[in-house]
């Protein structure tokens, strides 16, 4: 029985893949525009000069987000065992957050949060 359901599954996958292409070809027609020649019709151009300028501020913001991301990962684990750890755990997580905040404050102080 398991083999039969696998055959059905593969059949469905192939039918869906072929079906979507067939339906779009059947209904869509073929308007030839420049955008049709690019791999993706929206988003960033896939091919650029190697010395192109790209806005670094998005990356800086995303990197700073990681600080809080890591913080929350550890805070959840700490929260699970907070009663067992007691005061010691509270102080330790305080030190941990202080070190993370130092990194964040450094970035702030360097002006990486300014949106020029």
């Amino acid at each position: 029985m398991a083999g039969l359901s696998l055959v059905f599954y593969i059949g469905l996958v192939v039918a869906t893949a072929v079906g979507i292409v067939a339906v779009s070809r059947f209904l869509g027609g073929k308007p030839l525009t420049a955008a049709k020649d690019t791999p993706y019709e929206c988003g960033m151009p896939p091919v650029e000069m190697d010395n192109a300028v790209f806005p670094v501020r998005f990356y800086k913001t995303a990197l700073l987000f990681v600080v809080f991301d890591v913080e929350i990962v550890f805070l959840f684990l700490w929260a699970l065992v907070v009663r067992d750890l007691g005061w010691f755990g509270l102080v330790e997580i305080g030190v941990f957050i202080a070190i993370l905040m130092a990194a964040f404050l450094f970035a702030w102080w360097k002006g990486d949060l300014r949106w020029e």
């Binding site: 065992v81 067992d84 750890l85 010691f88 070190i99 130092a102 990194a103 450094f106 102080w109």
Partner: protein, 479 residues
């Protein structure tokens, strides 16, 4: 609640905590140039951390469920690393631009010291990896610290790409070790493995991943480009510090291995050693740039040290740690001399530029000559005994072939090391060196100390060897 460590022992991480505090403070130190507080704060932090080493000496402080073992070997390595950092500080005062905020530079350097402290004291492969990454991430940035230097950026990208591959290789080795033994602890290498077939592959991958840090083949290609592109103070640091840390980890790995893992480990050491001697010495022959010559010489030196690792039963651990000590003095000295000569210069310093240095700066030419003679391995410098002990251990453990290759390689190396001496003393009229600093500088004093220590290790080698073997008592006791 089993996973919570009952022995959170912050005492065993005392030097690291000092360095970490200093590094965080340094992030916020403002001001540039001579008036900056960055260098004094960084130097004070390193000296305080150095003062913590004798405090912990002989205690074998263990913490975090055996994940951190601050034994004498780790402390010896830490002392060497901190001294290396101090010398690189002396070089950095000249090498870094006046108007740039240098707090970040020293902060990153202290972070890398934290990483190496963790690496050398780790009793668990995962903790070793953690230390390696703290070290690597700081060094990637330090290599490209001067953003305007194009060669520096090139070196940084090469270092980063190769370093990430090496990290991945090490991680794969770690995963296979876990698959073979069900544990990531270093001591698990001696335990009977549940899947012994995986152990040889695991051991080789771990060693190759670590080989990146000592610039051993197959991950040696970064060294010349990084040393040439990085600020000279960073090159000074990278050519010594990560090698010391990685060799201590390799010593521990070699000491804990047994059975099929051990044979594979020995094979990997022998291969890396012979390949490193061949590549390093032959490539160094053709260099015209002094720093690239020293980079290839560093590859060859690491290859000589590797001979001691499979020979642990014949006192290899003491020989290796003695070699590391001497290597620190002579290589730091050579790079510090280079930093002293090339300060405020643009472009690389060619060997021909040194012509006539003996008549213009006799003291300085003498120092560089001592380091070159030591790197060749000629008595009465420490370099001779360093090679002698390692080769002796290799022969006693039955690696005569490797030692023969090493002896031939040493003869070849005479050519490029002694050519520097010949150019300095034999030729006249080098155009490249103008305006050498007069009087006593911090860097000059550091070079002087290195000269004295290089010669002292050659006059009293037994003293230093005994101290080195006392640092690794378990390994020296014979496996």
């Amino acid at each position: 609640m089993a996973p919570i460590f009952q022995d959170v022992n912050l005492y065993c991480l005392l030097p690291e905590l000092v360095l970490l505090t200093g590094a965080v403070v340094l992030l916020f130190v403002r001001g540039a140039g001579r008036g900056s507080a960055a260098l004094p704060v960084a130097a004070t932090t390193v000296i305080v951390a150095l003062a913590a080493v004798p405090l912990l000496w002989g205690e074998r402080a263990v913490g975090f469920g055996g994940m951190i073992v601050k034994d004498n070997g780790a402390l010896l390595a830490q002392a060497l690393l901190l001294i290396t950092a101090l010398v690189s500080f002396a070089a950095a005062a000249d090498a870094l631009p006046e108007r740039k905020n240098n707090g970040e530079y020293y902060s990153l350097l202290l972070f890398s010291l934290v990483g190496m402290g963790i690496m050398t004291a780790a009793g668990d492969l995962l903790v070793i990896f953690l230390g390696m990454e703290i070290l690597a991430l700081s060094l990637y940035v330090l290599v490209g610290f001067l953003k305007v230097v194009r060669a520096g950026m090139e070196g940084a990208v090469k270092y980063f790409l190769l370093g990430s591959v090496a990290s991945a290789v090490f991680l794969l080795g770690l995963a296979l070790t876990y698959g073979a033994t069900g544990s990531t602890q270093l001591v698990a290498f001696t335990a009977p493995a549940t899947m012994p077939a995986l152990l040889p592959a695991a051991a080789v991958l771990l060693v190759v991943g670590l080989g990146f840090k000592i610039a051993a083949p197959p991950f040696h290609m970064w060294a010349p480009d990084v040393y040439e592109g990085a600020p000279i103070s960073v090159a000074t640091y990278i050519s010594v510090a990560p090698k010391i840390a990685a060799f201590v980890v390799l010593l521990r790995l070699a000491g804990e291995s047994a059975g099929p893992g051990r044979e594979a480990l020995t094979g990997a050491f022998v291969f890396m050693s012979v390949a490193g001697m061949a590549v390093g010495n032959l490539a160094a022959l053709r260099q015209t740039s002094l720093v690239r010559m020293l980079a290839y010489s560093g590859i060859a030196q690491a290859a000589y040290i590797l001979i001691g690792l499979p020979a642990l039963s014949a006192g290899g651990a003491a020989a290796v740690s003695f070699y590391l000590l001497v290597y620190m003095f002579m290589n730091l000295g050579a790079f510090a001399s280079l930093a002293h000569l090339s300060r405020r210069r643009t472009g690389t310093l060619r060997i021909d530029d040194l012509a006539g240095l003996a008549s213009r700066a006799p003291g300085h030419a003498f120092a560089l000559a001592v380091f070159m003679i030591a790197l060749t391995g000629i008595p009465p410098t420490g370099g001779f005994f360093a090679k002698f002990y390692v080769f002796k251990a290799g022969i006693q453990a039955g690696y005569l072939g490797v030692v023969l290759v090493a002896v031939v390689a040493t003869v070849v190396s005479c050519f490029y090391y002694l050519r520097v001496v010949m150019v300095m003393y034999g030729e006249e009229g080098g155009a490249g060196l103008r305006g050498l600093p007069a009087g006593v500088t911090m860097l000059g004093a550091a070079i002087g100390v290195m000269v004295v220590m290089t010669i002292l290790t050659g006059i009293l080698p037994e003293r230093f060897l005994q101290a080195a073997s006392a640092a690794f008592p378990l390994l020296a006791a014979g496996m």
